[in-house]
């Protein structure tokens, strides 16, 4: 009898929120490429400044929009939709943080882009391309909600984070040969954070709600 009172779920509200998360990731890719290009000399920091900050603003607005919609969704559908709304609240924060780290990277670029002669230049270019591809792939996986693809994505992200850590360890030593080691360490650090936030978003497809955000910290213990 009481199943009659259960709201007939309309996919529209949820689809709209998911589409906004995808928009955030798409904007995230744009701001990441822009900030990386500024740091790695592919674009003049002054020229892209406006676009970069406007993109960040759009990401923030999308986050707020999803939060509002999630609250409305929870209010209308009640407790049955509570987990979904909480997951959305959490992952839009991750998507928003990607924009913040890209701004941090841009701040370094605005002071001094990395010289092409730096021994880590090629590696950073390679990682920039990988993360940019990861952002694109994250949109596809999030749209498909496929668990097997999410797991493969998470493994790849883990490996990339290990590489950043290894490079940072190298940079903390004496014989790295980089004249801009502080900037390079920060760049690896921001790349790692961008990757970690992406992994958090995709981990929402496979991990329980309470383990969100702790995904990268727990990787030593998970199989």
């Amino acid at each position: 009898m009481f199943k009659w009172f259960r709201p007939i779920e309309s996919a529209e509200g949820m689809e709209e929120m998911r589409a906004r998360v995808e928009d955030m990731l798409s904007e995230g890719r744009h701001i990441f490429d822009a900030a990386s290009n500024a740091f790695l000399g592919g674009a003049d920091p002054e020229v892209i400044r406006d676009d970069l900050f406007k993109t960040d603003k759009r990401i923030n607005q999308l986050e707020q929009k999803v939060r509002r919609q999630a609250l409305v969704h929870g209010t209308v559908y009640g407790t049955s939709q509570l987990p979904t709304c909480l997951v959305l609240m959490s992952i839009v924060k991750d998507a928003e943080r990607i924009g913040d780290y890209c701004k941090n990277l841009y701040d370094i670029a605005a002071i001094k882009p990395l010289a092409k002669e730096d021994p880590f230049f090629a590696d950073l270019i390679d990682h920039k391309n990988q993360i940019s591809g990861l952002l694109e792939e994250a949109i596809r996986i999030y749209r498909s909600q496929k668990e097997d693809k999410a797991k493969a994505f998470l493994m790849r992200g883990d490996q990339m984070q290990d590489q950043y850590d290894a490079n940072v360890v190298k940079l903390l030593g004496d014989d790295h040969g980089s004249k801009q080691s502080a900037a390079v360490i920060l760049a690896y650090r921001y790349y790692k954070r961008v990757t970690a936030h992406l992994l958090n978003i995709i981990s929402s497809l496979v991990v329980p709600l309470d383990e969100l955000d702790y995904f990268d910290e727990d990787r030593m213990t998970r199989d």
Partner: protein, 372 residues
Amino acid sequence: MGPTAQQRLVRVAAVIGFLIAFLVGVKLLGASFKMVGKDTAKNLFDGLTNPFAGLAVGILATVLVQSSSVTTAVVVGLVGDGQISVGHAVPVIMGANIGTSVTNTLVSLGHITRSAEFRRAFAGATMHDFFNLITVIVLLPIELATGFLQKSATALTTMFAGSSGVTYKSPIKEFIGSIAKWFIKLVEGVGLEGWWAAAVALAIGLALIVVSLIFITKIMRSLLAGRLEQSLNRVLGRSGIIGMGVGIVITVAVQSSSVTTSLLIPLIGAGILSLEVAFPITLGANIGTTVTALLAAMAADKTSGLTIALVHLLFNITGILLVYPFPPLRRIPIRLAEGLGSMAVRNRLLVLAYILTVFVVVPLLGVLIFRG
């Protein structure tokens, strides 16, 4: 046909069924009083001849059943069967408007442990109370002095259905009447007579009204969840006529202003819906809720049932026209509610005192004093 489409179809059929049950309930209500004789019924409702007693009864009855729709449907049933006059029923209808706002005020208590949230939520709930109180304070004396609502509603009734007070026929009414007669025969068939038969018929009528409205509201809400979500998303951050339209549409659809106004409270509490934006939605809910009385009038014997239902509609439209077009006046209920919200956060006991005073103590005293 997919499972969702099937679910929808079954639920729509259920709503139609409950709507018929609701109309049968309204019909049975009037019929049950006829069974005890005109004089007995007249004595029962004598207390309502005092408008303040009528107002207090309207508030109390609505607070008790948590639904102005039930109160107004019962009033339409009684007026439509000639048990009480339109004039005496007007204050009861106004009281129902005040009583219905207790539901969202109670909903706002869910936020009581978080100060900032509660201040907003309580203000969001009580701005509806203040608006309804202000419109009654202004319009009841004017109505008592001039009878403008009753006269306007009578004129509209004459225009739509012929002279007010006359008996009219319609196929729906005939159908509803035949089911109600079957119920009465059933009651009399088990050997009940006079008062007992009337009491059982009355109980069945009231039960049908209450249960039908509960089911209609819940099923319609379940059916229209997606639309509700879309409407609320659309209205966030916008104010004015769009909000009022959304309030009307949602309330007509779910047959309950309390559902509409209560949905707003968590959004106001969270701060994503401002009082200024929520205010016209609640006003729209006031208009939307009058549809229940208009539906109930379909079951009434006399056109006076339609007249009192139209009084309900005109009262709410007049209240809005009196306050909403003028920004300084529009801000009065909002500012009063904000003030009360701030006071409530400082002293939580005030919340209890406010609810008990406005919705229980004052109306109870009103009944005791003015009923004579």
